[in-house]
């Protein structure tokens, strides 16, 4: 009997770890929902879910781009800076109307993405260093363009931030649409396959004749564009452009969401559903602690525990 127990114990553990990798993040979200339903007053209300969804939407959008970059075995630290840049450029060009200013924002973001992609694909700088440069430079540029917070009164921008369709805010709709789009691209398109192949092994992809450099550049441009969308939406919600603090530490929130969602940092695999769930998990965790008025340091500790748990689960995958 002792022998049998010994034999099954490691088996159970690998199975458990595997299960955690795939479903752990959903289980976490479910657990938090159940706990909150019991202990948090007024948790099961539409307004509450609306608040949480609206707050998490920008994080999800940034995390989608981050998941793609991490899928190529890279990382993009400049997403927070791009959000700040998007905020200041929006304010700067809003005089021409919302749409023209959004086009200029897209241009700027594409520029940052192009610079990131070129540094990684052509110059051969490691992604963490290349995007670190743009993280510092991007926020610097944002502050040069708009040195301090500016209130925005454009009505179309305001409705983008707080309007809704049949009670569902635009922010949530946009985040959901983008998540579906990115999931489709990763799973069903040649581009998605190429992206994952490059992340699995760049030399192999090169030898197989895949367009490695164009794919890498497109991935970084897409990531920057998604960050810009998040920056514009956050600005629209605040009805003020605040390049000094908007997007601060966003790169860490996005990486956390991606990693907790079960996408390995080693590339070659992207889990979009998990990424969305990862962002939701962190949001619910923060909301729970804030609603119960626990000290802010607890939130950080709780996040750290979640990350360590996720990394532990990911470690098992490497061994397999």
């Amino acid at each position: 009997m002792a022998e049998a127990a010994l034999r099954t114990a490691p088996l159970d553990r690998t199975r458990l770890v595997q299960w955690l990798q795939t479903y752990g993040v959903y289980a976490g979200v479910a657990a938090l929902l159940v706990v909150n339903t019991v202990i948090t007053p007024r948790f099961l209300t539409t307004e509450n879910f609306r608040t949480q969804a609206v707050q998490v939407a920008p994080v999800i959008i940034v995390a989608l781009g981050m998941a793609l970059v991490i899928g190529t075995e890279g990382v993009d630290l400049s997403v927070g800076a791009v959000m700040a840049l998007a905020a200041s450029v929006t304010a700067l060009y809003l005089g021409y109307g919302l749409l023209p200013s959004l086009l200029v924002v897209a241009l700027f973001a594409a520029g940052v993405g192009l610079a990131n992609g070129a540094l990684v694909a052509f110059v051969g700088v490691q992604p963490i260093v290349a995007t670190l440069a743009l993280m510092v430079g991007g926020r610097g540029l944002a502050l040069v363009l708009l040195p301090q917070l500016k209130d925005l009164r454009n009505p179309s921008l305001a409705s983008l931030g707080s309007g809704d369709v049949l009670g569902v805010p635009y922010l949530i709709l946009i985040a959901a649409a983008l998540a579906l789009l990115v999931a489709f691209v990763v799973r069903r398109t040649t581009f998605g396959r190429q992206l994952l192949a490059i992340g699995d092994s760049r030399p192999a992809a090169q030898l197989a004749g895949l367009p490695v450099r164009p794919v890498l550049i497109i991935v970084y441009v897409v990531c920057a564009l998604l960050a810009a969308v998040a920056g514009v939406l956050a600005t629209a919600r605040l009805q003020a452009s605040d390049p000094t603090s908007l997007g601060n530490l966003m790169e860490l929130s996005a990486i956390t969401a991606v990693v907790v969602g079960g996408t390995p940092l080693t590339g070659g695999r992207v889990n979009i559903g998990g990424t969305v769930a990862g962002a939701v998990l962190i949001q619910l965790l923060t909301a729970t602690l804030i609603k119960h008025d626990l000290p802010p340091s607890w939130t950080q500790i709780a996040q750290a525990i979640v990350i360590v748990a996720a990394v532990y689960a990911a470690r098992g995958r490497g061994k397999r």
Binding site: T40, G95, P147, R153, T244, P296
Partner: protein
């Protein structure tokens, strides 16, 4: 492949640099932001908003040139060095630096300025630079209270008097520096509590949006508020304390959670204006009406005072950033050989619905 990448890199560097410069230039040259209505009146009433000393402090310690061990000099022919701690990205720092510059211009004093961009090591080297450039007097807005020994030694060797503003340096007054001029943050918290008690009638549940953790402004504004509430209105309960990091977006997010979980909240005390304005945005987003929740903030920026006029904010306790006149007056008195106080606490104003409209010109 090696060779081609190398060539590319040599080419890329000047191209990237010139491109970045071009982007920054073109972006600002053809930019067109929304019409700004608030900036017209900015300088009009600034003059009468200069700081006043709250307490002449009869019992407080004073300092003279003789005690400090320097030489008398004429301020008009002197060079004053000013070291700012944080980048001028928020209204407080902008108004503070501007006030120093304006006063130097008014008095015809040569002013050297430096900005540490929130890096303490840079501020130390900034001040050493100012000394090397020939500053006879120093005005410092310190980023930290500790770690000033190298600067104080250098200044003492040259017998350069130092006045610190808005934050204190941990050193001996009248030996390492002359005077410290600042607001009393605990008192600001107490006065915010007074406004909150009046707005809510002294009953109900209130929340606090804290500033950044580990910041002395946060701890002192919290202490003053809580002490006064406990002392004057025990029926007013602080049921929620979460940090908004002094930022508008964070203030908005935390307030959204707050009004979700505690819909009966009667008041919100925001430890700076930006978080208070974030709370206003959250209340608007939740479909509340102006006056449903009483908001009291500290700072006195133009946007917050406008919030009182619009009815969303009940009261603003001022934290006056215009240190220029008082700092130069202190230096003038001191260098003439007369005595000045070691701790100069300034009198902060307040805005309520009664004086917001008339006083908005004074806001920064």
């Amino acid at each position: 492949m090696q060779r081609t990448t190398h060539r590319r890199r040599l080419l890329a560097r000047p191209v990237v640099v010139s491109l970045a410069a071009a982007v920054a230039l073109t972006a600002t040259s053809c930019a067109k932001s929304e019409d700004d209505t608030s900036s017209d009146t900015k300088s009009s009433a600034a003059a009468d908003a200069a700081q006043k000393v709250a307490s002449p402090a009869p019992g407080g310690k004073a300092c003279t040139v003789d005690a400090y061990g320097g030489a008398k000099l004429d301020l008009e022919n002197a060079t004053v060095g000013f070291s700012q701690s944080e980048k001028e990205a928020n209204p407080f720092r902008i108004a503070e630096t501007q006030s120093i510059k304006d006063e130097a211009k008014k008095r015809g004093v040569k002013l050297l300025t430096a900005n540490a961009q929130s890096q303490f090591s840079k501020q130390i080297s900034d001040v050493q630079d100012l000394l090397a450039k020939g500053a006879d007097l120093l005005v410092i807005a310190p980023l930290n209270s500790d770690g000033w020994d190298p600067v104080l030694q250098a200044a003492a060797a040259k017998k350069v008097p130092i006045v610190t503003i808005d934050r204190k340096i941990n050193a001996t007054a009248c030996k390492d520096y002359v005077s410290f001029i600042a607001s009393d943050f605990v008192e600001q918290g107490r006065r915010a509590a007074d406004q909150m008690i009046e707005a809510t009638g002294g009953k109900g549940e209130v929340a606090i949006l804290l500033g950044s953790a580990g910041n002395n402004v946060t701890t002192e504004r919290t202490k003053g508020f809580k002490d006064r509430i406990a002392e004057k209105a025990p029926d007013l309960k602080v049921v929620f304390e979460q940090t908004g990091d002094f930022a508008r977006e964070k203030g908005q997010q935390v307030t959204e959670q707050l009004i979700q979980s505690k819909p009966g909240i009667k008041g919100i005390y925001a430890e700076n204006d930006e978080m208070g304005l974030g709370a206003v945005a959250a209340l608007k987003g939740a479909g509340k009406k102006a006056g449903d929740v009483e908001i009291v903030t500290v700072d006195g920026t133009r946007n917050a005072v406008q919030g009182i006029v619009d009815g969303w904010i009940s009261g603003v306790v001022e934290s006056n950033p215009r240190f220029g006149p008082l700092a130069f007056q202190t230096l003038d008195t001191f260098t003439k050989g007369e005595s000045v106080a070691q701790d100069i606490v300034i009198e902060d104003g307040a805005y309520t619905s009664g004086n917001a409209k008339s006083g908005i010109g004074k806001a920064y």
